[in-house]
């Protein structure tokens, strides 16, 4: 009975047509889709750089690119993936789309600011894209001084300006989310009835608001230093480059949590939905998000154990770093406990969620190795570090992103994706990912440094394995790209709540009407209350 009405029913996609109706939209759902298109583009651009890196590393000699080009490749891979894909990935797409719906609001608190954020990301992206096309940048995504300020002859300024602008996009998104969560909740939607996805985004927004400005001012100082040689980070004038590192990592360590926290939010939704149980220890999971955000600001010095940072500070930062393991472990244990005696179905989003839990656990545990002063000195700047953060960022954040994308695809587009293909690609990605990055743990432990394109022959076998894995991974990423676009036209029509999930976003039609709900929902239950959903399903039939 719902499907029959779909053709005529007005929703946010057919409410208006034309380029202008998209580029000037204030609708958070459309802006979410604009972000989705933008970051997908950057994802494949960053992926192209990664491909070149992996092909170069097939052989021990530098036969594909020169060392200068290689420096540019890993820099542009990092810059693109971190600032233009991972940071906006889940918050700006899925968060933008579903956060207002989950709390029963018509839109974010500041819709025009939301559109402005998207434009800022695009403009920032264009600056960085220009830098890449004009000749690239070779400082590494970390822009360490004094190399970035005094010595590099590449497009540091254009790239940094791009990141500076994109940073404001991130700040404004965070600001918008915080105000929305505080002020726009539907009647009855108390803080402890909010889905954990919303809690995770609240924590993420805190980091965006508190951390990103420090990156902005740091980049501004780097720009001044490079343009006018004012000496803030220049040892020749008595400045200290380690101060740059402090300022940079004050943002960039918590930035890792900007990437992973929203993915954790997605996983909480998926795990609960597909085991048909409320999340075990809801309050603990909610507060662990916030405490990860807070603790994330106290540990940045662990990126600087081999700099001239004092040994005492190193010990303090090392000690504090271990604490991040506590809220992270709370989450993993509570997800597992949720599965216990649940009625589990292995739908595609659930496969991604399982992938997330396994890979995040590995990434997290190897993070403990790196938090330890002594071991870190041994593996600093080796492939061990590379493997560790890819387990978090690719294995964690991207798994979460893809899981969420599949989970909410029916709601966003009104179409189902082909389940068989989706499962196949989830499996391909999981296998390809492990084949790519597990050998890198071993490489790093054996002493292969990162950021080199020439290496001793005994490392070749592991590098070949890694490159082979990367090709599998690339195929895994291409498949969803194809079938998701295919499903827009040919996919099965989606009903309002295909998974029998509990969130408010499932209580409205797929795709949602222009103002999300026909009537403002009134919330009377805790999150993940499956008894009420079952009753509704029985009623609707």
């Amino acid at each position: 009975m719902i499907t029959a009405a779909v053709q005529e029913r007005e929703h946010y996609l057919n409410a208006s047509y034309g380029i202008k109706s998209w580029l000037l939209t204030k609708d958070h759902k459309r802006i979410g889709l604009l972000y989705l298109a933008t970051i997908t583009l950057f994802f494949f651009l960053g992926g192209a750089f990664a491909t070149l890196i992996r092909i170069e590393l097939l052989t021990p000699q530098g036969d594909l690119v020169s060392s200068e080009t290689y420096n540019k490749l890993f820099t542009m891979h990092g810059v693109t993936m971190i600032f233009f894909f991972l940071i906006p990935s889940i918050p700006a797409t899925l968060g933008n789309f579903f956060l207002p719906m989950m709390i029963g609001a018509r839109d974010l608190a500041f819709p025009r600011l939301n559109l402005l954020s998207w434009y800022l990301l695009v403009v920032g992206g264009l600056f960085s894209l220009f830098a890449m096309l004009a000749g690239g940048v070779d400082t590494g995504w970390t822009f360490y001084t004094p190399y970035s300020t005094s010595y590099s002859n590449t497009w540091v300024i254009a790239t940094a300006v791009g990141i500076f602008i994109a940073g404001f996009s991130s700040i404004l998104t965070g600001l918008n989310f915080i105000v929305t969560i505080h002020r726009m909740r539907a009647p009855g939607m108390t803080w402890f009835r909010m889905p954990l996805f919303v809690w995770a985004h609240y924590a993420t927004s805190l980091i965006q608001v508190l951390g990103t400005p420090v990156l902005a001012v740091t980049l501004l100082l780097v720009l001044c230093e490079r343009l006018f040689h004012i000496g803030i980070f220049d040892p020749a004038l008595g400045g200290d480059p380690v101060l740059f590192q402090h300022l940079f990592w004050f943002y960039s360590h918590p930035a890792v949590y900007i990437m992973i926290l929203p993915a954790m939010g997605v996983v909480s939704e998926i795990i609960s939905t597909f085991s048909r149980k409320p999340i075990f220890g809801y309050g603990f999971v909610a507060f662990s998000s916030v405490s990860i955000a807070v603790l994330g600001f106290l540990v940045w010095g662990h990126h600087m154990f081999v700099s001239t940072q004092s040994v005492y500070a190193g010990m303090v930062f090392s000690f504090l770093s271990y604490f991040v393991a506590i809220p992270s472990a709370i989450k993993v244990f509570n997800w597992t406990a949720t599965l216990y005696k649940g009625s589990i179905s292995f739908a595609t989003p659930m496969l991604y969620a399982f992938g997330f839990i396994g890979l995040f656990t590995m990434g997290g545990l190897t993070g403990l190795f790196l938090a330890c002063l002594g071991i870190d000195v041994h593996v600093t700047d080796t492939y061990f570090v590379v493997a560790h953060f890819h387990y978090i960022m690719v294995g964690g954040a991207i798994m979460g992103f893809l899981g969420g994308l599949h989970f909410w695809w029916p709601k966003m587009t009104g179409r189902m994706y082909p389940e068989g293909w989706a499962k196949l690609s989830a499996l391909t990605i999981f296998l390809g990912f492990n084949l790519t990055f597990f050998p890198q743990f071993i490489l790093g432990y054996l002493g292969m440094p990162r950021r080199y394109h020439v290496y001793p022959e005994e490392f070749q076998v592991l590098h070949v394995l890694s490159t082979a894995g990367a090709s599998v991974l690339a195929v895994g990423y291409m498949i969803p790209m194809i079938y998701l676009i295919w499903s827009l036209r040919y996919g099965q029509i989606a009903v309002a709540n295909p998974w029998g999930a509990t969130g408010l976003e499932w209580k409205t039609a797929s795709p949602p009407p222009l103002h999300n709900f026909d009537e403002t929902p009134i919330v009377t239950h805790e999150a993940y209350d499956y008894t009420t959903v079952m009753e509704e399903v029985i009623e609707v039939g």
């Binding site: 505080h182 508190l210 420090v214 200290d240 380690v242 101060l243 402090h246 004050f250 600001f297 106290l298 940045w300 010095g301 001239t308 940072q309 004092s310 040994v311 005492y312 500070a313 190193g314 303090v316 930062f317």
Partner: protein, 99 residues
């Protein structure tokens, strides 16, 4: 948030206090207080900040949330500065050359 309209008299008094504090901080800078001169300067600045925030920015009529936001921001500024000072103030403290 109910509207509180302060009297002009309140604002004039606060304004006068701010001017006096400015003159005081300038005058006291010429006195040799040793390491305490920076403490006094910052203490006066903090007082002025509180006056501006509480009266001109209406924090004294504001919600708990606004105060929490402000307090949080100052705490995070504290984290940034104190944690970095943990490094700079303990260089060489443990006798490791150069660290």
């Amino acid at each position: 948030m109910s509207e509180h309209i302060d009297s002009v008299k309140t604002y004039v008094l606060v304004f006068a206090a701010l001017i006096c504090a400015t003159l005081a901080t300038t005058a006291v800078a010429f006195v040799d207080l040793g390491p305490f001169s920076v403490v006094v300067a910052l203490a006066i600045a903090v007082c002025k900040m509180l006056l501006v925030a509480l009266f001109f920015m209406h924090v004294r009529h504001s919600t708990k949330l606004t105060r929490l936001v402000l307090l949080g921001a100052l705490m995070w500024l504290g984290i940034l500065i104190l944690m970095t000072l943990t490094d700079f103030s303990t260089r060489g403290a443990l006798g490791v050359p150069g660290r």
